[in-house]
Symmetry: C3
Subunit: 100 residues, 3 copies
Amino acid sequence: MTLYPMKLVTVVTESLAREPLVRLLEEAGAHGYTLTHVEGAGAQGARFADMPESANIKFKVLVPPEAAARIFERLAAEFFPLYATVAYETDVRVVRAGKF
Amino acid sequence: MTLYPMKLVTVVTESLAREPLVRLLEEAGAHGYTLTHVEGAGAQGARFADMPESANIKFKVLVPPEAAARIFERLAAEFFPLYATVAYETDVRVVRAGKF
Amino acid sequence: MTLYPMKLVTVVTESLAREPLVRLLEEAGAHGYTLTHVEGAGAQGARFADMPESANIKFKVLVPPEAAARIFERLAAEFFPLYATVAYETDVRVVRAGKF
């Protein structure tokens, strides 16, 4: 049993961005994803109480570092101007980079 | 495109703690959050089969290290005596510390 | 308030693997878990558009490194041959390794 270092890329965005995001992730080299529906609130300079909660989607993909960089570059160029989007990467060790 | 090192703070707690937790996170400096409903079970010294599953909420916020420390101090003082709560931080790199 | 370094183990698998996975996690030393229902798609060498999305379950447990290794060894031996499963670990710092 071996552990492989990989990047876990998390993208939280608006539900209507689902289809273009799945395409982007696949084109950038992801072989699978998980999708969770989350509630979210937030914006720089506003109070939580003044914001409506909105339904968002959270995608997670396990990719090598180069693919993470490709995802972030395309998100910054194509998604940030259009959708409220937050993206980040975490270092993980994967037992098998299989099905998802 | 730049990546910013930040702390991802995760708090799993009882559903009834939702409103005070949102207030605490905001006061500690979070600009947004995501909330997921999770099932959970667990307690030191009990067998899973003997425990009822309960509905819990999981909050995630992206914050600088000082804010993470403020959140943990307040959780330990104000939440741990009242609610079953687990909290932890992870190092992440954020593309844009924006909306959530 | 002290932070303890621990491993966050994430396992994404098929819904029908739920009961044996809970047993495995407990036997390996986990004192609690959270469970989220996620959608997922993926497989090496297939296009996302050609794959049906499936309902999966995602378990998270906080454990010491030895327990993480035990979980991964048993998953590789007992789950990978039977269920589409992905598992990985992340370094986290836990405020209190309590209830979950």
